[in-house]
Symmetry: C2
Subunit: 319 residues, 2 copies
Amino acid sequence: MERITLEHAAKLLSEKDDILILMHKSPDGDAVGSGYGLAMALRSLGKRADPLCGDEIPKVYSYITDKVPAIGFEPKFIVSVDLATTALLSGSAVEYAESVDLCIDHHGSNNGYAKEGYVDGKSASCAEIIKKLLDIMQISIDNDMANAIFTGICTDTGCFKFSNVTSDTHRIAAELMDCGADSTEICRLMFDCKSRAKIELEKMVLETMEFSPDGKVAFVCITKDMMEKSGAAQGETEGIAGITKQIEGVKVGITMREKDNGEFRISVRSSEDIDASKICALFGGGGHRAAAGCSIFKEQTEAKKEIMAACIAAVEEAE
Amino acid sequence: MERITLEHAAKLLSEKDDILILMHKSPDGDAVGSGYGLAMALRSLGKRADPLCGDEIPKVYSYITDKVPAIGFEPKFIVSVDLATTALLSGSAVEYAESVDLCIDHHGSNNGYAKEGYVDGKSASCAEIIKKLLDIMQISIDNDMANAIFTGICTDTGCFKFSNVTSDTHRIAAELMDCGADSTEICRLMFDCKSRAKIELEKMVLETMEFSPDGKVAFVCITKDMMEKSGAAQGETEGIAGITKQIEGVKVGITMREKDNGEFRISVRSSEDIDASKICALFGGGGHRAAAGCSIFKEQTEAKKEIMAACIAAVEEAE
């Protein structure tokens, strides 16, 4: 992949038409916001542009997707957004894996699958790059585009909380609000809406919470039975992995999820002086220093005992 | 109170010395951030300035308060920040209630207790005004000042979520990050830290959750017994009032808190087409359209029954 400047990417897009924009499977706010936002922008120039995601877009994003009904055309230029590797394409998007002309991404790990690409690993979201791209293209950002791009920014930064946030992130958010982005409603939809099933699941999970005697290790478990009884969707367990690490005094938070065939999938989150990936490596897993994972194929009580013991040992060693 | 421009307020502060800065009781992030931030800024000009809050400042703000050890002097100029009325002064701050020289505030309801005042009801936080003030005074904002002011902004906006956020809010946040504000750590401390007691309380409260048959009214209760058993502090119940309204399909969320002498203090949050203040008025209470309160002096089950019935009736009427 030839690494190009954003100016060059803008020039390419200005020259092309019948543009297909690919997004990754299990689309999140940044994929949807970047893909649909770019499609809206290109259409505002009189071009034909369609976003394409192999998976169904969750209906929570309908305020974005409803603004971009599919046109349908034989694509002449293939763009990908927020896509680190074509392995993350799904369904009808897979057929374009080998023919991506232009990639716009913020994953430092992008494996260079496209002909030309602009990758900024320091950008908190791909949507921030899209905003800069539209500015270079001198596209007038209307409130629908602003809503789409703002969605990408706020979701990929946990509502401006994560360590990827830069002053640019806030500056772009300000500009998008000036273009009409409804930040209050977007933040409400993205962060303050829970299904009854999720609340039900949270209640059950909190009941499983246990601490090491010194309170530095916290544990929760999500069983298949809980998923079934609560009716929660798989995606709704995501926020739960963070619960334990939010508790005062907790240095290692463990979330254990029951999978099929006797597997317990374990996620470990740790504070800086404790290496979660080392703990998980003991069980054949791995990951990052602050967040790692592994699997234990044992009975529930035994699995809990083993991972708790390993985490308690890691805390003691770090002291 | 003479309403003055921020430029005039800046001129006053530039001319004065031995400045005492008053904050309201039960200090929140905006009071602490504004008061201590302003004190740091004035000290950077070689002036003597002390912040004064009648209540103890919660230790979660120690990264701000530790930077401003009290000097102690006979004050010659009294400033208040984030203080809508002197009725909100407490302890040792009360004696200055009648002698506030300059008030800087963002409460539209400010009752004009000071000699001169700058009040901007459209500002999401008082801290935003402090930032503008320092810019006018051409004070070089260091990272401690930036952390203090950023804290005020993010806490009064629910981490950039509330409807009071403007593009200025984000623009100022960006500038503060450029001055060294550690937004990640501040957001973690302010929004992602919970005591074990609070988690314990949340678990108990979730267990009391009930819904109307159509799922449009949700109810939770916090009893004195739960407060005692969990060990949660009064301030830790705050976020809980919002839980019910976050649930998909819920139009009216009720939080009932047991007080002394058989009182149940009820908080009602509603969606736009339902008037919470009207519901609460039925029980002698009041408030805003979207958030109101009242008290019911009945036995717990009866109190719940009455407020649920009133909310269900309000939902039916709105349809």
